[in-house]
Symmetry: C2
Subunit: 447 residues, 2 copies
Amino acid sequence: MRHAIAAALFLAATPLLAQTSVPDRLIAGELAGSQAYETLSHLTDEIGARPSGSRSAALAVRWTTERFRAWGISVRNEPVRVPHWVRGRESASIVSHNNQHLVLTAIGGSVSTPPQGITADVVEVGSFDELNNLRDKVKGRIVYYNNPMDMALVNARRSFEAYSRAVIFRAEGASRAAAYGAVAVLIRSVGSASLRTPHTGGMRYDAKVAKIPAAALTAEDAMLVHRLVGRGERVRIHLNLQTKVLPEVDSANVIAEIRGSEKPEEIVLIGGHLDSWDLGTGAIDDGSGVAMVMETMRLIHQSGLKPKRTIRCVLFMNEEFGLSGARAYFAAHKNEKHVAAIESDSGAAAPMGFTTTLKGDALTALEKQIAPLKAVGAATLDPQAETGADTSFLVEAGVPGFGFAPDPLHYFDYHHTPADTLDKVDPKELAQDSAAITGLTWILAEQ
Amino acid sequence: MRHAIAAALFLAATPLLAQTSVPDRLIAGELAGSQAYETLSHLTDEIGARPSGSRSAALAVRWTTERFRAWGISVRNEPVRVPHWVRGRESASIVSHNNQHLVLTAIGGSVSTPPQGITADVVEVGSFDELNNLRDKVKGRIVYYNNPMDMALVNARRSFEAYSRAVIFRAEGASRAAAYGAVAVLIRSVGSASLRTPHTGGMRYDAKVAKIPAAALTAEDAMLVHRLVGRGERVRIHLNLQTKVLPEVDSANVIAEIRGSEKPEEIVLIGGHLDSWDLGTGAIDDGSGVAMVMETMRLIHQSGLKPKRTIRCVLFMNEEFGLSGARAYFAAHKNEKHVAAIESDSGAAAPMGFTTTLKGDALTALEKQIAPLKAVGAATLDPQAETGADTSFLVEAGVPGFGFAPDPLHYFDYHHTPADTLDKVDPKELAQDSAAITGLTWILAEQ
């Protein structure tokens, strides 16, 4: 079976139909002989969690570089400075209620409490408006943001929206509460499932206010606090978070390239990120994205096919802790001609298609042309303003963006939690994902 | 609506039909005005985890006693000595594989490792036969029992069987491996769901061999070890479990009673257990069972109805850590005339019926008579050899046993884990459960 896939040359102002076929040895070859799961297994099982600045993140740079080299693919490392935040001991209890143990985790980047911890009464708010109404009444208190994900939105279309709505409290909650004198903040872990499972992630401190500790309670513990507050009871919590900010570390983006045969100066970029959070082993976020784009490179290289444009694979360092890899890449390469940027950072469930910044005729034309990607369930293009964090600087500069979109239904069950582990990935689905990305990459490199 | 429920007088050698109705104020009254969730909320949210020997277990004795008293029900405490095992710090890592962190929890009763921990190579076995074949090859090693629950059996009929089959390694694994010189054992957490969720439980040390530390890896960590071993890699683990055996504690069973109007010397016993494991708050194991049987007492007492037989509610202490409450009760009361023992210790999902030790004509007769319990989905009797741990001594002595059986499909998702928390219980289902137990209790007390 041969998939004949034609794509519009959407980059031209006037769409121009160009026939591009995706050779069988790419799609069917990947489904028959994928090595993506093997790649992912190494990243997760042998190396493990890869937080920015860690020894294991450095191991991941070295191993992926060697892997490209072993495949005979041109590869280099480009320098990236990364922060090195380290989680230490973390504990909490409800001293007002029989000193019950609470399960929580520090939000990434949180400052420590004093060594002896903080003990304070809890004030619950459900929104920043409520916080603003309370103002100085939160002074000296721990602010708890009651921010469950709207489970009615956790579906194939809107899971990421549900996440974005809830996660604002993780990102901005500490500084907003600190502005009114709060001593710490707690949020409800932003996830769609929990078995007492904490969910970490990034945050931003506002330089103008005091930095206060911030942690995410598991859904169960958050519901407990919410119930106790709801009964009108005084809730007093002891919180001890020990975190460390170590000196910045020299790390790297890993950049592999298959040079174009006709237009080598035109680049189709494909990327995922090498770093992960520290709690799990970063299987779905984003070991699988890395495995998919590495697999695309292996597959095209080993096929002996020569793409017209250059295909560049970027394994970004430090997506999770401030995008310094993405910034470094953009600073070094913004003047090169990127014709597309495909990012895979949404897990490894069965393919649904791609998000894209394309609009109008270019979108319509490409939509028609990728119909044959139905063979791996990836024939839809969903227009979105954002298609990925690591490629966002390129996209803001006008490069057409594509985000690989596997089924997101269970993504937030695992993402950023200790449960983001290899067993959550189905090898067959990962091969389908890799085939989908390979197909789109080939079309964009050839047309 | 009035439920007319007729039950056979199954205790007689020759079944004799006796009409027993369950007054509307019991079943419908419970569904309309249940206080069971309020009871459970106090046990779990205000008191929290109630491991044997703990301050919170003592609080639970005091609070439930006061609660019965506040309801105007005769109540007393009877002494029970309980062990006092305390979990301390616990950690592990795979030193052979980038020192990756493993999530695990000590099995209840496990001895400590030395303060600096143990580091040893892992030998995996899938059965005691495999262990016996390896014999001294496990000397100096950590034995990992690869014992996943058979998920094909996790259904309404066979979940408890699936659990029993897997849990034998938790119960006996340490001493069996120690007999061949192993230095520690790890098992896979015995549960039907995991988000990196450890599952604890009891174990037995054989007095004839050395006591070695025993812990349960989460399913994810167990699968990781299994994969690494399966790849033929040497797996070396560092394990540090700090546990303490504190002096035994004087605790109590809480015994409440509604005296029979015609045959006060004949006792229908209903029971659940007050203690819980330490990781969660013991909502489904067994706060809900306690709430149900307390609710049965409240409901019957407040109804003003006078049962012919005595209804005795026993809140057993220390089901989880050696059944000392059950033993103490049996020792003190074995010569009294128990006509039935109903235990609720299988969670709080929607009612399905009861297990029972009744057989033959007595079973058939009662099966017909409880048909009207269909109103709460509890009209089936499932003959089983065992109907509950706390009532097992009575049942072995010939007392007809009944085990309340809610839908077990998700029971082992939460049981013995940190996720055994109030949010897993649906208030409406808990009221149905309480109504079902009240109905059966009334029938047995009246007929």
